[in-house]
């Protein structure tokens, strides 16, 4: 590629990315340390001294530890079984096992409460009185819900790590007399560690800062919810900044440890595996035995969402002290679609997500091109930087964007111009900031897909076009983009799907009901007394169906490569 051109692309993408990504982080740090023109650690220390904040942080940490542990316990055996055995229905199961990923846990929480509430399905099934399971076991409720939504990330990482292990490694161990669990512990597990840690980091950071699930489950004593509650004071109180900074720093430290310890590399296998596969076919009752854990996990994982579907179909008030709703109705769907804020929220989410994906596609292709096809110094740094949004909690980013908006909208040139107000003040119109927030957080998916596509596409295919007289743009349009279309579509669909069910950004940045995205609408509807949860569930089902179709298309297009996208 032309050097001057690649330099231009490199500089432009770097600048845009650094500005959009680092500006919100910068303002968070500034807000927590520079108060009234002087630098101080008072608020940072204050966060740890304040019993409410420190309890919140500790609880968040416990949520993250609990969720990550649960996820690991669920995911590793499944990944190992997938790698080890060919069993009946494997093809279907390996697709279905990913389904929970597309079900936003905070929507599932609504169904979860219907089932586990004092007058819910479980108590009715067991014939118990009004036992308030979730009141007693709130913590367990939150981590279970999160784990059931996040285990696919770990599963994908673990499977990829296992598939990458040369079967000869295990064969050599077996040859020397090591077998069974010892072989797994001594050989397989250590070789999997980089992959496990990569997946674990994402899950940990995600659950450490998850806002939607604790909010719906009413688990308010955690840092994420405390930040959310403090948003009203964003212009005046440095404490939320300091609290957000602590979350940011913890995530960054964890991410760095992962990078340093494992160097983000799986152990390079010295040779291409001579044996193609070690998986052995099992049929009959043994096949069913292998299949069983998968079925169980999937069933448990979709239970909250089955609860949501049941709720959405229940006549309001009819799911009371019964296993399932007593009376069914489609009224909630009609109600949901008849509600003005629902309709506009669907439209809003589509607009925000589409714009975000379009922006990401351009950024993703550009970054990938520089990273894979140029020899510019610093391209590796750009590659690394573009992965960082995975390590930064969405809550932190959203808080940062909100703080930027709050700062600039206080300036006179914004106040006095309706144009700038519409663009920059989230209280007037959050579109710009929401689109930026959506796209920056999803950029890694797009970059990874585009990079993977380019790496699989031999550069000589582009050289052959140049040789025949095609310029840079012609080559890009006629050769490169058509060849990596599958990757771009897959990355784009994922970015789109995750934008559609984004929680933190939507809850924090969208402040006027006519600009609510779907997720915020679900949350607001849920708050309504009486009909709320039913309409919210109906909207949730709509969103799940929509996302299901999107993700299934992505996995069909990308096939096995889907896993690569979630490796930090």
């Amino acid at each position: 590629m032309n050097r001057a051109l690649s330099k231009t692309i490199f500089l432009t993408t770097s600048l845009v990315f650094v500005f959009l990504f680092l500006a919100p982080l910068g303002i968070v740090i500034k807000g927590g340390f520079w108060v009234n023109g002087e630098f101080t650690f008072r608020y940072l220390i204050g966060v740890f001294q304040n019993p409410i904040y420190s309890e919140g942080l500790l609880n968040s940490l416990m949520l993250a530890v609990g969720t990550t542990t649960l996820v690991t316990i669920i995911a590793i055996p499944l990944a190992w079984l997938t790698n080890k055995y060919e069993f009946p229905g494997k093809k279907w199961i390996s697709g279905l096992i990913l389904v929970p990923m597309i079900l936003p846990p905070f929507v599932g929480a609504i169904g979860f409460q219907q089932i586990l509430g004092p007058y819910g399905g479980l108590n009715a099934l067991l014939g118990l009185g009004p036992v308030d399971w979730l009141g007693k076991l709130q913590y367990w409720g939150v981590i279970t819900l999160q784990a059931l939504a996040l285990y696919p990330i770990m599963y994908l990482n673990a499977s990829a790590a296992l598939a990458n292990i040369d079967p000869a490694m295990e064969e050599a161990a077996a040859n020397l007399g090591c077998k069974g669990f010892a072989k797994f512990r001594r050989i397989t597990l250590p070789l999997m560690m980089p992959g496990l840690f990569a997946g674990g980091t994402i899950v940990f950071i995600w659950s450490f800062t998850e806002l939607g699930t604790p909010l719906i489950m009413n688990y308010t004593k955690c840092a994420a919810v405390q930040v959310f509650d403090a948003l009203k004071e964003i212009g005046t109180n440095p404490f939320p900044y300091a609290l957000v900074f602590v979350m940011l720093a913890s995530s960054a430290i964890l991410y760095s440890i992962g990078k340093f310890v494992f160097g983000n590399k799986s152990y390079a296998m010295q040779s291409k595996a001579a044996t193609v596969s070690t998986s052995s076919a099992v049929g009959g009752w043994r096949g069913i035995l292998v299949l069983l854990p998968f079925v169980l996990v999937i069933l448990v994982a979709v239970t909250p969402h089955l609860g949501v579907i049941a709720t959405s179909l229940a006549k309001p008030g009819s799911w009371y002290q019964s296993v399932l709703p007593a009376q069914l109705t489609l009224n909630n769907y009609a109600e949901a679609l008849g509600n003005e804020i629902t309709i506009s929220s669907i439209r809003n989410s589509l607009v925000y997500s589409t714009l975000a994906v379009a922006f990401n596609a351009i950024m993703g292709i550009s970054i990938a091109f520089v990273v894979v096809r140029s020899d510019i110094r610093g391209r590796g740094l750009l590659d690394g930087l573009s992965m960082l949004p995975l390590a930064v909690p969405g809550l932190v980013m959203a808080f940062g964007y909100l703080a930027i908006s709050a700062t600039v909208s206080n300036m006179d040139w914004v106040k006095n111009s309706s144009f700038w107000q519409t663009l920059l003040d989230v209280r007037t119109n959050p579109t710009l900031f929401l689109v930026i927030a959506y796209s920056v957080r999803r950029l890694p998916y797009m970059v990874r897909s585009a990079v993977a596509g380019l790496q699989q596409t031999s550069v000589t295919l582009e050289e052959a076009a140049a040789n025949l007289g095609a310029g840079f743009l012609t080559t890009l349009r006629r050769i490169t983009v058509p060849l990596i279309t599958a990757n771009l579509i897959a990355g784009g669909l994922l970015a789109f799907a995750f934008s559609m069910l984004e929680v933190s950004d939507g809850l924090m940045l969208a402040q006027r009901s006519d600009f609510y995205p779907i997720t915020k609408t679900i949350y607001e509807l849920f708050q309504l007394i009486g009909l709320g949860q039913y309409i919210a569930s109906a909207l949730g089902v709509w969103a799940m169906a929509f996302l299901g179709v999107t993700i299934i298309s992505a996995s069909l297009i990308l096939g096995k490569k889907l896993g690569a996208i979630f490796r930090a």
Binding site: T460, L461, E463, A464, L468, G469, T474, I479, L483
Partner: protein, 333 residues
């Protein structure tokens, strides 16, 4: 219309590593010129400099009258056949071949005709609507050739075009490539590490090693009169005998070796002086077993180990005489 390709002191470095070092050579119009050398010698790098994928740090490259040294690849009007063929998998054979013509805004009717002609030339007409991955290696190679030729480039660049084919196909294709080049009257630069390919179809060839042209000449010249031990060893089979030059007279040199005194007319006599140590390369086909001691030069004794000769020749204990009719000197040890 064929043009000359002129390289003048072309140097290409990657970081501290000089891969191509001050290479100057002119490829004549219509010539089939080979860049030959072991892997890592810089031959592909040099070809990619000519194609424009690398810009040399020093020197200049002219195609015809145009200085193309800093031109981007798409402006050079070369046709390249890649080692991996680089056929675009999302296009059919016909679309692949037509691509270059589309960019040149050739009218549709003419384009169709030229594509058809090109496919006839490489005998791929029946596969025009196939996708590349439905073709065998040899077929892909021919499509790649058609794609490069159809635009009637000023010069054809071939980067190890046959290295991915099986031995039998390689033999067929190399004569095929020469036929097509000569038929189109193209200036062609052919990179390979296979000396048999070069010896059998090249007009001229340059032997590269460590980024430097070791020798440049016709296959006959390079084979008969290698100018270094490296070239003698790289081209064809060679037996080396160490020796010392006794005298040099005109193009004749007499060399004292362990197997006897050898008179050579193949030694680059302008480069050697009496008293120098040299290695003499003996091509296997010039060694003849004689019944009677011949009277002319270069006779030496040898021992035949029976298993290495045909039964007809002699018994293992015989001590027949060897005669060298022709031999090739090589400077240096």
């Amino acid at each position: 219309m064929a043009v000359a390709v002129r390289l003048d002191s072309v140097t290409k470095r990657f970081g501290d590593l000089t891969v191509v070092s001050r290479i100057s050579v002119t490829i004549e119009p219509g010539e089939l010129f080979f860049l030959l050398g072991p892997s890592g010698c810089g031959k592909t790098t040099l070809l990619r400099c000519i194609a424009g994928f690398y810009i040399p740090e020093e020197g200049s490259i002219h195609i015809g009258d145009r200085d193309v040294t800093r031109l981007s690849p798409d402006a050079r009007d070369t046709g390249m056949v890649f080692q991996s063929y680089a056929l675009w998998p999302h296009m059919t054979v016909a679309q692949n071949v037509a691509f270059g013509l589309e960019l040149r805004k050739v009218p549709k009717a003419e384009m169709d005709q030229r594509v058809a002609e090109a496919l006839v030339m490489v005998k791929m007409t029946e596969r025009a609507q196939y996708k590349p991955n439905q073709l065998s290696g040899g077929q892909q190679q021919r499509v790649a050739l058609a794609r490069a030729l159809v635009v009637r480039p000023q010069c054809l660049l071939l980067d190890e075009p046959l290295s991915n084919l099986d031995a039998k196909l390689r033999l067929d294709m190399r004569t095929e490539i020469r036929r097509i080049c000569k038929q189109a009257g193209l200036t062609a630069i052919y990179v390979t590490h296979d000396q048999k390919e070069a010896l059998s179809i090249a007009d001229r060839m340059a032997i590269l090693d460590k980024g430097i042209i070791q020798q440049c000449g016709s296959p006959e010249e390079v084979y008969r009169r290698p100018n270094s031990k490296f070239v003698a060893n790289f081209i064809g089979e060679a037996n080396f005998v160490e020796g010392k030059i006794l005298s040099v007279e005109g193009d004749r040199a007499v060399i004292e070796t362990a197997i006897g005194r050898i008179t050579s007319t193949a030694l680059p006599t302008e480069l050697v002086r009496a008293g120098e140590q040299v290695a003499v390369s003996l091509r296997p086909e010039v060694i003849h077993v004689a019944e009677e001691p011949p009277t002319d030069a270069n006779v030496f004794n040898g021992q035949i180990h029976g298993t290495h000769l045909s039964r007809r020749s002699c018994a293992a204990s015989d001590q027949p005489r060897y005669k060298r009719r022709r031999h090739h000197g090589a400077k240096g040890v």
